[in-house]
Symmetry: C2
Subunit: 292 residues, 2 copies
């Protein structure tokens, strides 16, 4: 088992938003709360047992209250916003929050720069959170695009972490709007390409279906094959190993033909044991001889 | 009795501050909560029955948590900050909040401009809230000063409200840091001077002592007499009536000599009846013939 101190998580910040004056970083928060052991695991966001007193009062003041803020969660946003306002870069604030919440792994934002994931949909041009939370990913998506990429670079610490890593895991997250923004940070792909021999991707699709969220819909909107093979094609130059679900065994030969070492496993990560099994599988994959 | 719709309150915004990304306007909030009937009357700030869940979590993240934010109170700050960020001027946001909380009177900030009350003390150069809340007004004050006055003007609606009023009341608030900032907004004094014949000031000092807060200390720091006569001297060109406490009857001749009509009343406004009595007294004062 890998000690938590030896793990670095690189988080997507394309979902971040300014919300009534507060800077909200939902993906960094979710990672932090999970690693701190305080995440609301059934809901998938926020803090377990949190209350929503401010949220209820806020709902009486405005109908712009669709993004749910828990009372304890709000403390995180206040802290981060105050530190950013004082000039601290996001990676430092992220580390401070993780440390104060007792997280022993390292959590890095993909970049200190403000990058925003936006979607052109049949309900208009939307910030990611407007699409995902407010509209509950119902609008048809025509295009995904990003603002702020031009001046962005990977956050301090990412190059070193990737260079030093024994295993780089591309998580089974949405390739379009969770992994995609990370890969779009200028300089990130070349850091990952240099780490290709130790990088393993885990398919987010099981039998062509997402565990949750609009993975299939967004791969389609981007013109990609909406299955594990389509995902493998996207990561072809970045990863040398690929873990796909046993349900998708029929796609294995085509994925192997892309140059991957392949492992078939149940990839529904609904508990710690299955997540640990997939991570061990990835480590084992690196020990196999490289694919042709 | 004056119907609430006919009352306009002009509030001090020199105490406002940016707090971890949120714009906090404590005086406007206090007025709004009182008029909405939700104020915590015993504590003197915030909302009755409010909880402090965010505050407790925030205290675990930082020691910069000395300004107490209630959970329901936080909704007000989120709303105001979001609207200001969207470009709405403070007087409009103040009206929106009052309306949503069911306030029937009109509440106006002294100005839409950002004016900050600061104090040079033996504990350093402090924002008003640092002096008052964090340091509990213990430091000795050498000077009170303001930033942001140059570009400021009275908020829209103030000139009209003062012109149309039958009675203008200068509340028994701290003359240095509550009334003082309002009077310092460029243009405010001339609006008030034009309304002098219908303006009545109520002394904030009873027997030379403040009901609460550093009224005496700050009058001294400004080189003013720290009693009802010193207060009357400050408002001499703005008010024609003065209500002072029965305890201060000995000062009445000197205050009358400044050109005031005078009423002696119990001015400890610790319930609605005594406040109503002082307001009626002020109305009656205006009916008396002008002083010499």
């Amino acid at each position: 088992m890998v000690p938590p101190e030896e793990i670095t998580v690189i988080g997507n910040t394309g979902d971040d938003m300014w919300w009534h004056g507060l800077y909200i970083a939902p993906d960094l928060d979710t990672v932090t709360y999970w690693l701190a052991g305080v995440a609301d695991e059934s809901r998938g966001w926020g803090i377990r047992g949190d209350t929503f007193t401010t949220q209820a009062a806020f709902g009486h003041l405005t109908d712009r209250s669709w993004f749910q803020l828990g009372d304890r969660d709000l403390a995180t946003h206040l802290y981060r916003t105050g530190r950013l306002a004082a000039g601290a870069p996001l990676h430092r604030v992220t580390a401070e929050l993780a440390e104060r919440l007792g997280v022993r792994s390292r959590i890095l934002p993909m970049s200190d720069a403000r990058i925003e994931t936006r979607l052109k949909t049949d309900a208009g041009d939307l910030h990611f959170q407007e699409y995902f939370v407010r509209e509950r990913w119902r609008p048809a998506v025509r295009e995904i695009y990003w603002t702020g990429l031009d001046e962005a670079s990977p956050a301090p610490g990412i190059a070193e972490a990737l260079a030093a890593a024994r295993l780089v895991l591309i998580a089974p997250s949405n390739p379009s709007i969770s992994i995609g923004p990370i890969l779009r940070v200028p300089g990130m792909r070349s850091l990952l390409r240099a780490a290709r021999e130790k990088t393993v991707a885990v398919s987010p699709l099981i039998g062509g279906r997402a565990v949750k969220g609009p993975t299939v819909e967004l791969l389609r909107a981007e013109g990609a094959r909406p299955d594990a093979l389509g995902v493998a094609e996207r990561y072809q130059d970045l990863a040398s190993g690929f873990v796909l679900d046993t349900e998708d065994a029929a796609l294995a030969p085509a994925i192997a033909a892309l140059g991957y070492r392949i492992a078939l496993r149940p990839t529904m990560l609904d508990d710690v044991d299955s997540a640990r099994d997939v991570a061990s599988t990835a480590v084992d994959l690196l020990r196999e001889p490289a694919a042709a």
